[in-house]
Symmetry: C2
């Protein structure tokens, strides 16, 4: 099955109201926001990625989901497959670093052994103290679409991790993303919808529009690109179809400014679907809008 | 690394007070009890096990951890690797059944794709409404050791799943364990320590004694065995070293009766370590006390 089919089937099961119909990246249980992410070796990270960076990314991606809800990290659970000593020690070092960097302690977890030659599959579940928690589905027609930071750096970093030439700063954006926790708390108060950019700006914006029952337009010329990314030769279209940015994508009412630095890249309107422009001129959508999970 | 080494290393990281020093199977966050378990194809279940039974067991093992804390299930998160259609549909059917049987809805989760030929690795994180939550470490010298239900049936069921002859009732005990949620709520009020039997009575009792800073003695002749297990030819020593029972193991003050059906199988005393007797006569410990996770 593809992911969308499986999730549709899950919706036929008994669902907790906190599941929000499985439309969101988090569940809200009382004052807690809960999210979980799994990383698979060979799918979400490369076998040659340093174990410390895998640990960092595993925790950071979860904290990014909390950030998108304006939540403050409380702690994480870790589901870990025991491995060789070097990898385990490297992982522990990266885990220590990312927990300390985000003031987020360990709550517990489970360790398992794997059959020989199995790819590593790691899960973290993160708990946050609930803030305002804008849903993915709350955008209104006329709202403007904003994004924090710069887009595409992690996509360039992935190419560099795979062997392309490029600067360490871009590689670091892929391997050690910064969850926008402080920004999320500041922005959440005014945002009508918010999510993090994990699979790519285009696909994630399309998901926000779909969940909100709206159409969305993105202008490529407005997408914030870093100097390092431009110098590397990165394009706006490559940036918006690459994943792993872990920036915040959010909808604000027209005329409202975000409480943390961000860039306006488009807007919502009645209807459905995604339209791409470049400085106002229509641009055909690329064949792939971003990263989508597929059955093996 | 082996599991114990890895967990010792985790204790050097920033830990949340709710982690209870990683001595327990659950974290207690406010009014919530949280636990997580991962099942690995080829380690915790067999490739030929029906997908519906894997789903059942994945949820049931987590609810069993909640039961050991006298908690009432609130909901579960699922981390699921997309697979072939037949397996996915079978899994969804079993998931529906186990959620309905335990009045426990889905809260959310994450779906991922796997590289070709990778074993399936599935995680469930379960949330319960906190009850009295006896710790694993609360036994006192003089306390008696009790266990619910019968022991060894699941071990026989595993042998049957691997091709041995035997009745469907024993196979079902391995594939579709019943979390002792109602019993846990009833027993928790009086229990000074409680945990579920996942890796085997001997190793789990030894862990409870170790966490409590005590010695424990178990009498093989008192271990409750089912008629089906005896008829199958199962022995008490095989029963207490087999895992997957998911019965509740707990310490009660001497003279206290449990509020749900259970059998007294031993007791705690000052000192350390595990002693095995058979109708009071000393018995040598077996080479393996139960299931222990090992690095690949």
């Amino acid at each position: 099955m593809i992911e969308a089919e499986f999730i549709a089937a899950l919706r036929a099961l008994p669902l907790h109201p906190a599941a929000r119909g499985l439309e969101d990246d988090v569940a809200v249980l009382g004052s807690l926001v809960v999210t979980t992410d799994t990383l698979v070796e060979g799918v979400h990270f490369l076998s040659r990625d340093p174990a410390a960076d895998v640990a960092w990314k595993l925790v950071a991606t979860n904290l990014s989901d909390l950030a998108a809800k304006g939540a403050t990290p409380v702690g994480v659970l870790l589901n870990y497959p025991l491995s060789d000593d070097d990898w385990d020690r490297g992982f522990l070092g990266g885990l220590d670093a990312v927990l300390r960097a985000n003031d987020c302690p360990l709550l517990g977890g489970d360790t398992v052994s794997l059959p020989a030659a199995a790819p590593r599959i790691l899960t973290v579940t993160a708990f946050g103290e609930r803030g305002i928690a804008p849903p993915r589905s709350g955008a209104s027609a006329g709202d403007r679409l904003w994004v924090t930071g710069t887009i595409g750096d992690a996509g360039a970093g992935l190419a560099i991790a795979r062997g392309a030439d490029g600067p360490p700063a871009l590689l670091a954006r892929y391997r050690r993303p910064t969850p926008r926790v402080a920004e999320g708390r500041l922005i959440a108060g005014a945002a009508r919808a918010m999510m993090d950019v994990s699979d790519g700006v285009l696909i994630d914006a399309a998901r926000m529009a779909d969940a909100s029952g709206l159409a969305v337009t993105i202008d490529l010329a407005r997408v914030p690109l870093s100097d390092a990314y431009r110098a590397w030769g990165g394009t706006a279209i490559a940036a918006v179809t690459a994943g792993d940015d872990y920036e915040l994508l959010f909808a604000l009412p027209p005329g409202t400014r975000p409480a943390a630095p961000a860039t306006e890249i488009g807007g919502f309107s009645t209807g459905s679907g995604l339209t791409l422009t470049d400085d106002g001129a229509p641009v055909a959508l690329p064949a792939s809008l971003g990263y989508q999970h597929r059955a093996r």
